[in-house]
Structures are given as C-alpha cells and as structure tokens.
C-alpha cells in the first residue's frame, strides 16, 4: 500500500530487483499447466478486480459528472481535465508535492545515506543495532499519531517548538506554524522527514551491510581513509539503492495524503493542499466524483512515469553490472 509512505519504500525498492531474476524453467504439459493456474487464481482475481480495474474505472468516472447521492450522471468528456488546468489549487498542490519530493530526497535519501554510512562505520555491533532501531521508531508508528503529535508540537499555546525557540532566545521566530499560509506545508514536510528518515537509513544500512568486508579491508591496507572509503566503495556500491530511493521518494511524495489530512486538511486557505487531499476534498467533501477522479488521474500519470523510470533505471543498471 502506497499511502503509508514508509511502507512504500521497501516495496518499491523491491520492484527493480525482481526483474533481475530469471523465472524458473518451464517443463509443461498443457493439462498440468492449466491445473497449475489454480495457484495464482485467487491473487489474480483480487489484483485485477481491486487494483487494476479501479484504475480504468477511475478514468471512466473522470469523464462524467455524477453525484453519489442522486446517482445522476452526465457524460462530459474531458471537461474535468480542462477544469484541472484552470484550477489554481491543482497547481498549488503540484507545487507542494514537488516541494515534498525535493526536501524528502535531500533528507531521506542523501541524509539517510550519510547517516547509514556513519552508523555502519561504528565498531560495535550493539551500538549499530541500537541506533538503527532508535531512528526507526517513528516509522513504526502510524502517520495519524505522528501527524497529531506534531499538530500539537506546532501549536503556539501548548507546543514544544515555540517554547523551545523562546528558551533559546529565538522567541520572535515563534508562530502558529500550521496556521500560516507560508509555513504550513513546510511544517508538515518537516514532520514527514522526522518520521521517515529512519526507515531509509535502515534500508541503506542493509545495502551497506551487503558490501563485502574485504573491499574495506583492502582499502584500509592501501591507506584509504574514512572519506575515501565512503566515496570510492560505499557510494558506488549503493548507487543502485540510491537511484531507486530517489525514484521511490518521488513516487511517495506525489501520493502524500495522511499527514496533510491530519495536520491541516489542506489549509489554511488551501495553501498546504497536495494532490491526494485535493482529490479527497473534491471527491468526498464536495461529492464531485468526476473532478476528484480527474485529480486522481494526475496522480496516476505521475506515479506511472516514476514507475517506468524505476524499471528503466534497474534495467540499465543490470546491463552495467
């Protein structure tokens, strides 16, 4: 499931690697082949019905304007898509999703990589395990809980952040972080970094652990220092992981919903809307299913592009390896 962003990471990082594996040999007689279909039947019915078909149906819905309560529908062709173009909130949302992607790449890909390298460089396995686990804790907790928690942390009256700023003498920086149009989305994105970086760090940690120790031993023999080893061994050998994480992070950033919904629901004055919350607002609050579906199509197209980028990237890497 892709809404829970951290969850999506492991998932999507996985896609590419499968393609590198060969399917087992087929020695088939037609009848036993047909019988073997029973193994995949349930999964196929479920996936085609509930995962693939809704995508097609979504496009059909988007060409109609209908009301879920009266059930009346009218075919409107691509009207909903024309409306998208002239809807300023859609552009705000795309901008916010892009911000989300960019900031998450900085912290959850590059920051997490550096952090993972630092942790894996510690001498004591107990401490390595300790730090991995500590940083991961927020990722195990539901975004609803962390979203609400930061909703409170950002409050001017009871929140931690403004009190902290006042205590260190930056009291004039304090504000209602979620209540002001130009800070709301940044406050949400910051929460998301807090929650998600530990997951990426864990993934990078696993990737780094897969690097053969002999490479490092040989480099130490040759007199390579910490930075050289990081630059010449760790970086190149986790490049595949890094590339995938960039793509996965972009995909995740365009599907953000949960934290925005919990913390601001897109406000104030729609300044923190993202595509996911705008879809919800239009489809489920305004009951404009057709237009909501059109917004969903935008998300679909963007995530499809990043999905293909991921396939292309892993294929390309595979040739080089």
């Amino acid at each position: 499931m892709t809404v829970v962003k951290h969850d999506y990471k492991g998932e999507a990082a996985a896609i590419g690697f499968t393609l590198q594996r060969k399917a087992g040999n087929d020695q088939t007689s037609p009848l036993s082949g047909l019988l073997s279909f029973r193994w995949v039947l349930v999964a196929f019915v479920l996936i085609l019905w509930f995962v693939y078909y809704p995508i097609i149906d979504n496009f059909i819905v988007s060409t109609k304007n209908q009301d879920i309560f009266t059930g009346e529908t009218a075919f409107v062709g691509l009207d909903n898509y024309r409306r998208l173009q002239s809807d300023p909130i859609v552009w705000t949302a795309i901008l916010n999703n892009t911000l989300y992607a960019v900031i998450s790449i900085v912290f959850q890909v590059f920051g997490a990589f550096v952090l993972a390298a630092l942790i894996e460089g510690l001498d004591n396995e107990r401490w390595r395990r300790f730090w991995r686990a500590v940083y991961f804790i927020p990722s195990a907790i539901s975004i609803t809980v962390t979203g609400l928690l930061f909703y409170f942390i950002y409050q001017p009256d009871i929140g931690l952040l403004d009190s902290f700023l006042t205590q260190i003498g930056l009291g004039n920086w304090s504000r209602a972080w979620l209540g002001e149009e130009h800070t709301a989305i940044y406050a949400i994105i910051a929460m998301s970094q807090w929650q998600g970086f530990g997951y990426s760090t864990l993934l990078f940690g696993i990737a780094i652990q897969k690097i053969p120790r002999e490479l490092y031993d040989a480099a130490i023999m040759d007199g390579a220092g910490t930075w050289r080893r990081l630059w010449n061994i760790t970086m190149p050998l986790t490049r595949e992981m890094t590339g995938l994480m960039v793509i996965v992070t972009i995909t995740g950033a365009f599907q953000v919903f949960n934290e925005v919904m919990v913390m601001t629901a897109g406000g104030p004055n729609n300044s923190s809307q993202v595509l996911g919350t705008w879809l919800y607002q239009q489809g489920f609050i305004e009951n404009d299913f057709g237009y909501g579906a059109a917004v969903a199509t935008v998300i679909f197209v963007i995530t499809l592009l990043t999905g293909f980028a991921q396939l292309w990237y892993t294929r390309k890497r595979r040739v080089h390896l």
Binding site: M1, T2, V3, V4, D7, G10, E11, A13, A14, I15, F17, T18, A23, G24, S29, G33, L35, S36, F37, W39, V40, V42, A43, L46, I47, F50, V51, Y52, P54, I55, D57, V61, L118, W131, Y135, I137, P138, A140, I141, S142, I143, T144, V145, L148, I153, G159, L160, L202, L203, I206, Q209, K210, T226, F257, M261, L279, F289, T297, T303, L304
Partner: protein, 286 residues
C-alpha cells in the same frame, strides 16, 4: 601501543580521530533526542491535567495518575484496538496465504507463461490506492461491503499481494530444486509439495511478511477512513481522529489516546525487529 613508537606524527591524527568520534557521537545522540523526545513528551502529556498541558511544556507531570489513559481506553480506544486487531490479523492471514500460493505458482508449478504472470502481479506494486479510491467506493457499495470489516480485509489483501508475493517468490527461488524433484520421485503432487515441503521451508520469510503486513495494516489510514463510517468499525488511526474531534479541548485524553495507539506497534516492532529487517533485506535483493 606500538603505533606511537613507530611514528611520532601519529599523535595529531589520533587527536583528530578522537575529535571526529566525539562529534559523531554528539550528532547521533542529538538526532536520537530529536527523534525520541517528542514521543516521550506525548506519553508524559497523557499523565498531565489539562491545565498542566497549558503550562510549561517541558515540565514533568505533577503526578503519574493514569486517569487520562483509562478514560481514553474507555472512550473508544478499546473498540478501535479490537477493530484494528481483527482487520490486521484477518488481512495478514489472507495476504500471506494467497501470496504464498501465488509465489509457489510463479516459481515451481508448471504454469505456462510465468514471466507474464510475474509482470502482472508485480506491476500492481506501481498502482497506488489513492488513484483507485473513488471507483472502489462505488464498487464496495455495490458489493454491499461498504462499512464492514471485509472491505478493509479485502482491500488490504489485494493491495499487499504484489509486495508479499514478491518477497516470498524471491525466497522460494533460493530454495534448492532437488527438494521438489525428490518429492516428485516419491510421487507427491504439486499440492503436497507446496504444503509439506515448500511452505514449511518458507517459514522465516512468512514470519517477516506477517510482520511487514501488520505494520502496514495497523497504521493504514486512507482506506480505513473512507470505507468505514460507524464508530464501532473504525480502526485506530481513524478512531484517533474522531477522539480528537470529540475531545478537541481535552488535550490530555487525546495525548493518552495517541500513546495507547502507538504503544502496541512499537512493542511489536521491538519484539520482531529481526524478522522485519530480514524481510526488508530479502526485498532489497540478495
């Protein structure tokens, strides 16, 4: 150490290394505080009275009474946890079982055209629930599943099959073929090979898959919010937002409720960390 005897220039290097080490530890500890302190603050606020919460946020509660926790538990958390357990376990069992069948079919059965089937299953990884949500509402209403446990169990299963199948498939590809061949020699059918030979061998990855699924299902929000409307059918994440809406002014209870919803999953994570990490490692590829 002999190093110092060999080269006197070694000394400043050691100092630099020492300094680097101190910086590193300071950095790791500060980051750790940033990560953990908000969570501790959340749990502590659950012990405070409402007026204390409006006081100094860094202060400790004057007394550790569990009154707020008990009210939060009685005012919904209990029901939400029950629903979350039903949905999480139900979908975990369905997902892992169906995915194991599928992975078996895709790796070891005589199914023709396996690569295409693999493509279809794993292509599902690219499709997001957000995009499907509007059509799914109508679909679930037509099926009469709207506002039932089944809506969530079916959707969690369907959307998690691709990932879970991927993990189990990778594991099955690594199991030696001789096992099947030996079983076939003994006259075992595909079904028997699956249940008696392959499935028991896959136990480690199955456990990892259950853990990954539990983490996902326990925390899922979008589907849970849209496909359930009654208070008795809400899962924890959704229930928490209704507690927030209902007791918006009684912050102490909300904090207690948040802590109670976070606690089980943190415990599960620590208890099952090993399996969780192995699942991910498996997913990243050997």
């Amino acid at each position: 150490m002999s190093v110092t005897l060999q080269s006197p220039e070694r000394e400043p290097v050691d100092f630099v290394q020492m300094l680097a080490k101190v910086c590193l530890v300071t950095f790791l500890v500060s980051l750790g505080v940033i990560v953990i302190y908000p969570l501790i603050w959340m749990a502590l606020n659950g012990f405070k009275s409402n007026s204390e919460i409006f006081g100094n946020p860094f202060a400790l509660p004057t007394s550790f009474t569990i009154g707020n926790y008990i009210s939060a538990w009685n005012q919904g958390i209990r029901n939400y946890i029950a629903t979350s357990i039903i949905v999480t376990l139900g979908s975990a069992i369905c997902t892992v079982l169906v995915s194991a069948w599928t992975a078996y079919g895709l790796t070891r059965s005589s199914l023709p055209g396996k690569p295409y089937f693999v493509g279809i299953v794993l292509g599902g990884l690219m499709l997001s629930p957000t995009v499907a949500v509007i059509p799914l509402v109508r679909m679930m209403q037509d099926l009469g599943l709207y506002n039932t446990y089944w809506a969530l169990i079916i959707l969690y299963t369907a959307f998690r099959i691709p990932f879970t199948t991927f993990l189990i498939r990778a594991y099955m590809l690594g199991l030696p073929r001789d096992l099947d061949e030996a079983a076939i020699m003994d006259g075992a059918t595909e079904g028997q090979i699956f249940w008696k030979v392959i499935l028991p061998l896959c136990k480690p990855i199955l456990v990892s898959c259950v853990i990954l699924h539990v983490l996902f299902a326990w925390n899922e929000y979008l589907f849970a919010m849209i496909f359930t409307s009654g208070a008795d059918l809400q899962t924890l994440p959704v229930g928490l937002t209704s507690i927030m809406a209902k007791h918006g002014t009684n912050y102490a209870i909300v904090f207690a409720a948040m802590t109670l919803s976070a606690l089980p999953i943190v415990i599960v994570f620590f208890a099952a960390q090993r399996f969780f990490i192995r699942g991910l490692a498996e997913g990243i590829g050997k």
